[in-house]
Subunit: 562 residues, 2 copies
């Protein structure tokens, strides 16, 4: 069904499938359902092709046209705290509760590549957009990719039923506090549902609030990436064997399935840091190294998912891990997409402890975490940069130096052979062998990143993603806390009922507990992951230098029997 | 005694002690005895100071002025065989048999530094001079220095008594064949002395002719370089303790003593490759690293001297190794300088075997060696270049990479400390320790060249010097062989007595035996030295990587008890 739209920003096409659009230009969209963030349509010059959904506003003639009103001006008051600039400004204006049409498997392959381009383009081009503002990754490091969050449906539409709240609303429509629905939740604009099927419990621990462990913890392997083809080889994709430990039954998933799950997680879970998926890659999707890297990073992503008490119990995740039947898959997918307990409503599913926590204490605890997260983000960035550079050195400089040394020894040995009566074959062989040994050592250096640095970079990449989420998440708690103070002041001035203020305070406590539980979980996981990362690195380093020693010892022996 | 002189080439002063001179400018020289290749004098503009002796021609009014005639035109017929371009064209025109005044100990310190500059300048500036023409050292390698041979007195003055030989003389005055006096020797122009005190025997071995071993083989240690001062600290020099094994009595020698000995060796020994002394250094003469490097290289030089059957039995060398008395030193020095059995006359001291050797076979053997030496020179150059570059990498790139990795780990650990209730001190300590370990590994890399690459470069430098001598030495044999063929032709044509031709052939055999003995010695020594060099390198490399492994293993243990 074609609809009209208006371009909010100018977009310059970069591929032949894309068309350029000018700010304020009238457009026709052929299908209202964007695919991976792209609309197909026609511009005012009659050119047909793709343009980013986030760059346009759909012009609606139906009753709920008010929704578009509040969603245009990105040049609002973004400058509150540069560390808390929202990382998601590429909100699609596809704001109806229509879900992306992702059943069309066959089209997806085509889109898979392009979406990376879109994401990068969004970060670079969208006015006011700044994927992750407090520190940009060094441009010479191809492994560092900040991934902007995919579009999220606007949660404030939920609150349309109650407009009378006396506490002021945040006018910054780009604030994560607003977008996530947490503002609406805190203000009591999210009605309690009649029956809530799911619930996530937060309990107290010596380290403060934490997510209650899943009663059925499990892990999940990802193995055997296999190239599959469709339509007589025209379409190619990689399928992974995904085996949850508690069923032992493998299911086969493609990256697009992970991506679907990831978008569900973003959509549903507020105040929880959703681990980023390994980046997409525009070219060379099927190159061996890329497939290997994606597999490793999907494994880490999956470990994070299964170890998280909330994610691991999510129905959509269960569906992803267990459903092996095509028809059932579509049904379960649609069910997950129609889940109403998302965003603001998700907050209703949280069971918090009765313990009193002074809000000021929570505030301080969060500030400490914020400083920690900022510094950890910086140092993870630094280590990523150094490790990437070290990979480059291993493959280039180190290898080259040792190979040149090896060549030179060979050359010495060759020269010694030129005066046969005076030439000791044993010595010449030993020197020539030394040459080969150093050539091998050069190769060992070049191979080594596969055994150590790559794994370090994988973990660091996961943590870069997790850390990138925290500014927004902390912002939620800040917003909620501000509402409490505002309501307190209004009550003091007699402008608000104590009941209403108590409600706001109570809901703010929920936000605080959830954030603390998430902080706690992050720390516990960080400790496990970094211990593993460092141990694995050191073990591989030791094995590496021992291999070098062994090669040299074998070589030295050749001289001893001369 | 002041004398007049004329500048042959333009020289631009580079230090305040030096003065500039223009080509053809008239000069006054204050002391005819140049010191380390420099004259002190005055130019036509009245400036007083130093200029290189090899840049000027002393204007003599005495009877032997003819000597200067044949020594100027360096642009002669040099192009016979590019591999055999003479390596010594910076002949001083100080051609009288006056010996350098090197008794003046106190002045020497001042000159020591500058003489390197002169040598470099000679190679770069002298028209037609080309220190070592068949391959120039890579310019980015400061460790490779081709050292031009110091000036050698012209030997052809010896032959002034007999001018009537029928076989043509080589008109190329820069040919080593002529300069060394071997032409004169072969042509029978060197009269047999009444009594010859010394003799060096060549004997046959399965690998062909070789120098007969010294009946009293010995070695010699060089230790304990010590800074000494004179004149209340105004003059400073380094003294080495030199202890020959057969006396066990140490003598103390300075670099200038080594340099004196080296010049005696060059002067005396024809057809023998005199090992170059470690290079002089223009600045930082007393820096610890330089002293250490010079000591290491003097030790190698000394090992080569003591292991050589001819050098080790030379009276001047014995004097150098044993004389501990100042007065005796001067006497012995003068005696060595007045030694008449030098150059062409040295050839008279050789005792050769009676075995018949076909001259054609000798020629082929020499050609094989020539090819070998050329290739070995190339590969030694290549390895020197690679090893020097590796030193640079160890001190720079490798150290930096590991230190940056160490820093990044430290930084991670520091960030983990920022949220104390959630912070595991044991993990933070382990990561921080890992950081220090990699900083240490960086230092290990930077230190390592001292234990391995420096020693390799020392050996390579010695061999560069030895190999650089061979083109000239081989040229002697080629020249002698050409004389034999010429005399044969003349005898056939009835233009020469058979007796005279037989004499030339006999003396050519002596040259051939001497060269083969020297080739043989070179090969035997090469085998020992390169085996040692490679073994030492591998042993130190193994020890190095083992140290790295140990450091990493200790560090890994910190994680295992977490």
């Amino acid at each position: 069904m074609s609809v009209k739209a208006k371009a909010l920003y100018t977009f310059q096409s970069e591929n032949k499938e894309e068309i350029s659009i000018q700010e304020n230009e009238e457009l026709i969209i052929f299908d209202e359902n964007s695919v991976d963030g792209w609309f197909q349509g026609e511009n005012s010059r009659g050119e047909r092709g793709l343009f980013p959904a986030s760059y346009v506003e759909v012009i609606r003639t139906r009753s709920n046209s008010n929704v578009t009103d509040c969603s245009i001006s990105p040049a609002g008051s973004l400058g509150n705290d540069s560390y808390f600039l929202p990382s998601t400004t590429n909100t699609t204006l596809n704001t109806q509760p229509t879900y992306y049409d992702i059943d069309d498997d066959d089209d997806w392959d085509d889109w898979d590549d392009r979406s990376t381009v879109v994401e990068d383009a969004d970060i670079e081009r969208s006015p006011g957009a700044n994927g992750h503002s407090h520190q940009n990754p060094p441009s010479n490091n191809p492994n560092v990719h900040y991934r902007a969050k995919p579009p999220m449906e606007r949660q404030d539409s939920i609150s349309s039923g109650r407009k009378g709240s006396m506490v002021g609303r945040n006018l910054n429509r780009f604030s994560s506090f607003v977008r996530s629905g947490v503002e609406a939740f805190v203000l009591g604009d999210v009605p309690m549902m009649a029956k809530i099927a799911e619930s996530y419990t937060i309990e107290m621990s010596p380290q403060g609030p934490r997510w209650k462990e899943s009663p059925q913890p499990f892990s999940c392997s990802i193995e055997d990436p296999t190239k599959q083809t469709k339509f007589k080889g025209i379409k190619t994709y990689i399928s992974y064997r995904v085996t949850p430990s508690h069923t032992g039954r493998p299911v086969y998933r493609r990256y697009k399935h992970f991506d679907w799950l990831y978008n569900r997680l973003l959509h549903k879970f507020t105040v929880i840091s959703v681990p980023h998926l390994p980046e997409k890659q525009a070219t060379g999707r099927f190159e061996e190294d890329f497939i290997e890297k994606r597999k490793r990073r999907l494994i880490l992503w999956m470990n994070h998912m299964t170890s998280h008490p909330v994610f691991s119990q999510y129905e959509g995740f269960e569906h992803f891990l267990m459903c092996a039947d095509d028809k059932q898959w579509k049904l379960g997918k649609r069910r997950a997409e129609k889940d109403e307990m998302v965003g603001a409503h998700f907050m209703l599913t949280l069971q918090i402890p009765n313990e009193h926590q002074d809000l000021q204490d929570v505030e301080e605890r969060v500030d400490t975490f914020k400083n920690f997260a900022k510094k950890m983000d910086d140092s993870v960035m630094q280590l990523t940069h150094v490790a990437s550079e070290l990979v480059r050195k291993h493959l280039g400089g180190f290898r080259k130096e040792f190979q040149r040394l090896g060549n030179s020894f060979q050359s010495i040995s060759q020269s010694f052979m030129l005066d046969p009566p005076h030439s000791s074959e044993a010595l010449n062989n030993a020197i020539s062998h030394t040459g080969r040994t150093y050539e091998n050592i050069g190769e060992l250096f070049a191979e080594q990143p596969k055994y150590d640095l790559f794994h370090m970079l994988d973990t660091l990449s996961l943590y870069q993603g997790l850390l990138a989420n925290f500014p927004d998440i902390i912002h939620l708690q800040k917003g909620a806390f501000a509402k409490v103070k505002e309501s307190q002041r209004m009550t003091d001035e007699g402008k608000m009922d104590q009941d209403e203020a108590d409600g706001i305070r109570k809901r703010c406590r929920t936000v605080g507990f959830a954030l603390q539980a998430e902080m706690n979980h992050f720390h516990r996981q960080r400790e496990v992951d970094f211990k593993d990362m460092m141990q694995a690195y050191l073990r591989e380093q030791i094995a590496f230098y021992q291999r070098v020693v062994q090669q040299l010892e074998r070589t030295l022996r050749m001289y001893e029997c001369l």
